[in-house]
């Protein structure tokens, strides 16, 4: 066991640094910069049962110290993932997290069943995507609907179930507790915050869907607060994310109680972000004589 080894919902990760869903393809895209096998885990692009072409129009734009996206869960579908996607991910050597979105309860359950055929380590249930018209975030807005979908998926999946919460929920603590009670093995948060941008020259919203998801360093203080609140509210492990771009950012989340962190937007600004965070955490442990990074977990 090294200083960074982390157990998440029964799965051993080399370190607590995970590539965030939707920002790292299926694990190979950043290979030109570093071996993805050094990562604790990789959460793949969000899948939906039958796949999707995603949204039309502009899909990403920059905001101050952040960005917005309206990808709309473009993905090749669960079947394709079972056959190919999961193998590509497995070949990286990092723990494989399958991120699953859906438009209806039935979609989620059906997809989870099919995914039992896939070679993955953790199923991350995305009930927080703000960029699809039906379902998506709607499931994560309040405890009751969240609980429903978690129970149903938990009943069919053979994998540890991590549920990804929306910062747009009415009461994220209530949702977290509901999800825990419904049998989730872990919680991850935050997905993107619902935002808007207007092109004042064209006098139109930038995005066809009008609203889109905000991520990146700009949202980190909000994400950290929510992660801290949820860590205090539940007993299951929490994976924190939202704006992490340096190892000190990661430390803040771990001190706030996160077992592991995910890194998304910052990978775009600098593809070396995650290897640097891992190095930074390793050095931090050595300099502070920590046998394992978990020693500072939740000290706040």
């Amino acid at each position: 066991m090294s200083r960074l080894t982390t157990i998440l919902a029964g799965v051993e990760l080399k370190n607590p640094v995970i590539a965030a869903s939707g920002t790292f393809g299926f694990g190979k895209e950043f290979e030109g910069y570093f071996d993805p096998g050094i990562l604790g885990g990789i959460s793949g692009k969000g899948l939906t049962l039958n796949g999707s072409k995603g949204n039309k129009g502009i899909r990403v734009c920059e905001t101050p110290a952040g960005m917005m996206n309206s990808i709309g869960l473009e993905n090749p579908g669960v079947e394709h993932f079972v056959k190919e996607g999961c193998k590509i991910m497995r070949s990286t050597g990092a723990a494989v997290i399958c991120n699953l979105g859906g438009h209806s309860l039935e979609d989620y359950v059906k997809a989870a069943e099919l995914l039992n055929e896939a070679d993955i380590d953790i199923l991350e249930l995305n009930i927080s995507c703000p960029n699809v018209k039906e379902g998506g975030m709607a499931f994560g807005m309040c405890g009751a609907t969240a609980s429903d979908v978690v129970k149903r998926v938990k009943a069919v999946t053979r994998f540890p179930l991590m549920v990804k919460l929306s910062p747009n929920a009415n009461d994220i603590i209530e949702v977290a507790r509901a999800v825990e009670d419904a049998g989730a093995d872990a919680i991850s948060l935050i997905n993107t915050l619902l935002g808007m941008k207007i092109d004042v020259v064209r006098r139109k919203p930038i995005f066809n869907n009008i609203y889109a998801g905000v991520s990146g360093p700009a949202v980190m203080p909000i994400a950290l607060r929510m992660v801290h609140q949820v860590c205090k509210a539940v007993k299951i492990p929490v994976v924190g994310m939202g704006g992490i771009s340096s190892y000190t950012d990661a430390l803040e989340f771990i001190m706030a109680g996160a077992v592991a962190v995910q890194v998304g937007t910052a990978n775009f600004a600098n593809p070396y972000t995650m290897p640097r965070i891992i190095e930074g955490l390793e050095k931090y442990c050595i300099q502070n004589s920590l046998e394992n990074i978990s020693e500072i977990r939740g000290i706040i």
């Binding site: 950043f30 030109g32 990403v60 734009c61 920059e62 990808i71 700009a218 775009f268 593809p271």
Partner: protein
């Protein structure tokens, strides 16, 4: 971090920057980040304008926040540069014609220069359209056999899309749409270098997809150069 060798205006709105130690082929691009801080956050996709002795130059128009900061950097400063990204222009064995609109001429120069060096006997024509004052035209004159310049209006309406010449166009979307239509009418081969808002540049985020006849393609990874016949403009 890559060091800037030179960065200067070629017109009030357009600059030429050379960065040390970068390589790539014509049609590829880099994501350039002119700051060490978190705003602006994302790299700016900028095509390779030329590549000599392991240094790349970039021709860019000051469009907004990022390119404006870029224009203030000076020789000796460092810049984050990730790449080379994208497929680049497909080499062909025929005469070629470059159709550039405004700053869209940037990647075409590199193609012209390298093709001329490799195949001195092939004919290279350049049709360059500008809204106002032309820039960099002398560069094209030095490597192309024929340079046609138009100020105002649509450069595409002046291009004879014959069959035996392969066309490469880069410029504003309306220009590229027009080029595609003309080329299709005349049965002429046309490659387009597309633009899209990008976040990652490596094919990971799906932020830059464009619809094609064979489904969504990522401009950053599967492109930016596509056969016009494949592209479905929205």
């Amino acid at each position: 971090m890559p060091v800037i060798l030179q960065n200067s205006h070629v017109s009030p709105e357009v600059c030429l920057m050379t960065i040390k130690g970068l390589t790539g082929k014509a049609g590829q691009f880099y994501m350039l980040r002119p700051t060490k801080v978190l705003d602006p956050l994302l790299g700016r996709p900028i095509s390779i304008h030329d590549c000599v002795d392991g240094n790349c130059s970039f021709l860019y128009r000051i469009a907004g926040k990022g390119t404006s900061l870029m224009s203030e950097l000076r020789a000796g400063d460092t810049i984050e540069a990730y790449g080379p990204y994208g497929n680049g222009f497909e080499p062909v064995d025929s005469d070629i014609r470059l159709i550039g609109g405004g700053i869209g001429i940037a990647p075409l120069y590199f193609l012209a220069r390298t093709q001329k060096a490799l195949y001195p006997n092939r004919v290279i024509e350049a049709y360059l359209g500008f809204v106002e004052k032309p820039f960099m035209v002398q560069y094209f004159r030095a490597v192309a056999d024929f340079v046609y310049v138009r100020v105002g209006g649509y450069i595409t309406s002046d291009v004879p899309f014959e069959e035996n010449v392969v066309n490469y166009a880069c410029g504003p979307v309306p220009m590229m749409k027009a080029a595609k239509e003309e080329a299709e009418k005349k049965g002429s081969t046309l490659y387009l270098s597309l633009e899209a808002h990008m976040a990652c540049g490596v094919g990971a985020c799906l932020g830059c997809t464009c619809p094609t006849v064979s489904g969504n393609k990522r401009v950053c990874k599967d492109g930016p150069v596509f056969l016009a016949s494949e592209v479905c403009f929205e």
